[in-house]
């Protein structure tokens, strides 16, 4: 609707008494400062935040232990895995057939994360060649194996590191705990459309 575009832009300019192509001042300055805390503290903050939401955190010394912890969490359930390096290192393989089918039918989705945020207990995942959107989304349980080195302090630090998330990926998702709803009588229910279980395994030295 090209005529709508012109009409709206022209109405906006008239409303603002601006002319086409007129320059603008700098947007307000932002304070993106954050307090850099030691890794041990970050993990403690992350744990406190995600446990409050019903998620869990494990800290493991290496890849073998990460695999062990994941296997323990999975139990007898079926899985679908991303092909992120650390997930592959743990010996989990991505599905051979249709990805969406695999995600829709699996009990547990296993991914890594590009970042984690200590303040809020969040995982940050960029959709990529190795990390599809659906693995952390369709299965009822999400297990994330995350290198300790990507655990940041806060949203501020994330946006300092990633000022232009769109340059990396068509989708950056910040996941903060299990899927939930309180739409019926404000009663908290987990696992509405996304995973009702979220487990994070931080791998030291990675």
């Amino acid at each position: 609707m090209p005529e709508a575009r012109e009409a709206i832009l022209s109405a906006v300019r008239t409303a603002l008494k601006r002319s086409k192509g007129q320059g603008i001042p700098q947007p307000p300055a932002l304070d993106l400062s954050f307090i850099d805390t030691p890794v041990a503290d970050r993990i403690a903050f992350f744990r406190a935040a995600i446990e409050k939401l019903g998620g869990t955190v494990s800290e493991v010394p290496g890849i073998a232990e990460a695999r062990g912890r994941a296997v323990e969490l999975i139990g007898a359930r079926s899985t679908v895995c991303s092909s992120a390096a650390i997930v592959a290192d743990c010996g989990f393989a991505p599905p051979a057939g249709d990805l969406r089918e695999a995600c829709a039918s699996a009990d547990c989705g296993i991914t890594s994360a590009d970042y984690a945020l200590a303040d809020t207990g969040s995982l940050v995942l960029f959709s990529s060649a190795t990390e599809p959107r659906m693995v952390s989304l369709l299965p009822p349980c999400h297990i994330a194996i995350v290198p300790e080195s990507v655990l940041l302090t806060s949203l501020e630090e994330l946006f300092v590191r990633e000022a232009m998330p769109a340059e990396r990926s068509s989708a950056m998702v910040i996941i903060t705990g299990p899927s939930r709803s309180a739409d019926i009588e404000m009663i908290l229910v987990r696992g509405v459309h996304g995973p009702g279980e979220v487990h994070v395994i931080f791998v030291a030295g990675h």
Partner: protein, 480 residues
């Protein structure tokens, strides 16, 4: 004020079950918010509000620039920006796209903007099934109701209401436990998600420097809506723009805290589709539909422009003592509560619901909690002024206008004011009770005195006014 709303308000106020549901549920949201914006929980909260306000002001004051910037960046990544002047244009465009792509099923995540344009009904008429996927919205769609609240659409429904609706519309065994009800919805909707050809979301923010939309939610339905179907359409009001991705460090902190009392919502999706060539999943086509529908009209009004800063958190509803009595369905449009009372007349024109700005006790609780510091009471007062001007022009308020003119005259003439005061005091026998009003001429059975007495008693009139007693007091002192 139309009788339908009068009746709706009367029914809501008179329904004890509904009153408890509204008051308790909004009360929960009030308490949740309080715990995360306290000085201990978030020392910089007031500073964040100032920043949020300043960023929105900057963006709206230069909106043409940011619209074009967003469009440029979205287009560069293979997305497409579409503009719609009103609801009809927006719905028509979406329906045509569905027809062109042969799509018969469309999934939607919760979006006030698509409620505003009544997209579902428009699509239904064109043979396209549009399914709401947010749990609360889904319940309401099954029952053909509009949302009761900006962020808690089914706030007025009990689990028993939900059981009735599911039983009637979906069949199967009656289920009254919310957890099980949720699982029923999950199963039904999962199939819809995977079969749908188009996913429609709203946008909490449109990020100009990135050409991205940000969708914030708790359930995961917006993620699936924007990831599973081949086509993603985001519908956003023009005012949803922010300049930079980094601005989200401010707005994300404000939004979830103000809305539900969470430090961050469960899912924040920062989306710049279509999917890149190396990505394994995600939509192949992306459209951002910018909706005007009255917004440019409001934009032109510098005094009230900040009404467009709203980030739809719903905090003003939860804190509004009037909303908490009359509920969401007593407001004439999808936007209810204090923010609805100021934007409805500005989007739709004053003439449509001139009573709306009066549905407030001007207590100011809304402005106190607004995360972007919109001075809602100030705009309510301005709108009331505009309404009286309009009604005076059209001769619709002759009696009220006359009353205020006479009142104003009396208040400028202290002697007259005093005599009238005495007259009024004389007309109100002591002690005040319901009996005396019945003795008055029938004219007074209507009007403000009767309205007051319909709910409350009046205090007894004093024998002497302050000024009379003051004169006596000074005289006594003088003589002493």
């Amino acid at each position: 004020m139309p009788d339908a709303y009068k009746q709706q308000i009367k029914d809501t106020v008179g329904d004890p079950r509904l009153q408890i549901a509204i008051y308790n549920n909004t009360g929960r949201l009030v308490e949740n918010r309080k715990s995360v914006v306290s000085t201990e929980a978030l020392p910089g909260y007031q500073g964040l509000r100032d920043q949020g306000h300043a960023i929105k002001k900057h963006t709206l004051d230069h909106l043409d620039h940011y619209l074009e910037l967003a469009e440029k960046n979205i287009t560069a990544r293979g997305g497409k920006v579409v503009y719609a002047r009103d609801s009809a244009e927006a719905c028509e465009w979406i329906a045509q796209l569905a027809e062109k792509r042969g799509v018969k099923l469309l999934v939607k995540s919760k979006s006030m903007t698509t409620e505003e344009i009544e997209l579902n009904h428009a699509l239904e008429k064109r043979g396209v099934e549009a399914v709401e996927t947010d749990l609360g919205e889904y319940i309401l769609q099954l029952n053909d109701e509009k949302p009761y609240h900006i962020i808690a659409p089914a706030l007025h429904k009990t689990r028993f209401d939900v059981a009735d609706i599911f039983e009637r519309k979906l069949g199967g065994a009656r289920e009254v436990v919310p957890e099980k009800q949720t699982q029923i919805a999950r199963r039904v909707l999962r199939e819809k998600f995977l079969a749908a050809g188009i996913g429609v979301t709203g946008a909490n923010f449109v990020v100009a420097d990135s050409g991205a939309v940000v969708v914030v939610e708790n359930e995961g339905n917006a993620r699936i809506t924007s990831s599973a179907p081949k086509i993603h359409i985001a519908v956003a009001g023009l005012e949803k723009l922010i300049p930079r991705a980094q601005d989200l460090a401010v707005f994300l902190k404000l939004l979830a805290r103000s809305a539900t009392g969470q430090p961050l919502s469960v899912y924040t999706s920062f989306l710049s589709p279509p999917k890149r060539s190396n990505e394994q999943d995600g939509p192949e086509e992306f459209y951002l539909l910018f909706l005007d529908n009255g917004r440019t009209r409001l934009l032109a009004d510098e005094g009230k422009r900040e009404s467009l800063y709203c980030i739809r958190c719903g905090a003003c509803l939860n804190h509004c003592p009037v909303y908490r009595k009359i509920g969401g369905h007593s407001y004439p449009w999808v936007y209810s509560g204090p923010i609805g009372a100021i934007i409805t007349p500005q989007f739709m024109g004053l003439a449509k619901d001139p009573w709306l700005p009066y549905a407030s006790s001007l207590c100011g609780a809304c402005a106190e909690v607004c995360p972007v510091k919109i001075d809602i009471p100030k705009h309510l007062l301005t709108l009331r002024h505009e309404v009286t001007e309009m009604r005076t022009r059209e001769g619709q308020n002759r009696l009220e206008k006359l009353a205020f003119r006479l009142w104003s005259y009396a208040m400028r003439h202290p002697r007259l004011y005093e005599s009238l005061g005495k007259l009024a005091a004389g007309a109100a026998p002591n002690p005040a009770n319901e009996a005396w009003i019945k003795k008055l001429p029938s004219l007074l059975h209507r009007g403000p005195v009767a309205a007051w007495l319909s709910e409350r008693d009046l205090p007894p009139s004093p024998a002497k006014s302050f000024r009379e007693q003051w004169r006596e007091r000074q005289e006594r002192r003088h003589n002493a």
